[in-house]
Symmetry: C2
Subunit: 101 residues, 2 copies
DNA sequence: TGCTAACATCATGATGTCGTTATAGCGTTG
DNA sequence: CAACGCTATAACGACATCATGATGTTAGCA
């Protein structure tokens, strides 16, 4: 249960989701991720390290660049499903609110 | 992106997952959740409040008891999918380790 | 060999979260 | 209405996480 919570924690940070989103199309080097996300280089490096340790992302040095890519694209399905569920939840919250008013 | 991260954060806490797990079979009052999880009453109340605000759980007072139940059982599908993905990730990490040794 | 670009790491401060203890609110029952 | 059980909240300390700015490290190239 602890491990699962930690896994969900990986996706519980906006900037981390942004980094993952940047990697949606395939491998990118750090600078490219920085450009796409608008985050600072230090911050991107940190999040990529976390994602690597979590096993979500693979690190591949190539010359002077370091490329990162999502290992299991099922990650994107999980994120999508979370998004769907969130939408359904928001809709139901609105319904409940309307029922009161 | 921020909202989605916050939603995932709901599931990023072991005790919160335990509370949700206790509610897997249907509605329970607070004391029942306390008994099933072994957590303190105050802590259970706190997590239930969070889950309520997040829209994951519905609060239903009945006499002097207060029952809680999961609104959209799709939540359990999300948790299951996270669990599966975590397993796949762990397996792949082991494979990568073996490949090195 | 020295410079530069790309990436990683460190130290720090600010903020957030978790769990506990104690207490308050509230409905029921005697 | 007094006492009790159930639930919620408040206050607090411990700890984790995040973002930043500065610095370290390494590879490639002049």
């Amino acid at each position: 249960m602890e491990a699962l919570a930690d896994y969900f924690k990986v996706f519980s940070e906006p900037n981390r989701l942004a980094v993952l989103d940047a990697l949606r199309g395939g491998a990118l080097n750090v600078t490219a991720v920085v450009e796409r996300t608008g985050l600072s280089q230090a911050l991107v490096s940190k999040h990529l390290k976390l994602l690597t340790i979590a096993g979500v992302v693979r690190r591949r040095p190539e010359g002077s660049l370091v490329f990162y890519e999502v290992i299991d694209k099922g990650v994107f399905r999980l994120i999508l499903q979370g998004d769907k569920l969130l939408l359904a939840t928001r809709r139901q919250q609105l319904d409940a609110l309307v029922a009161i008013l």
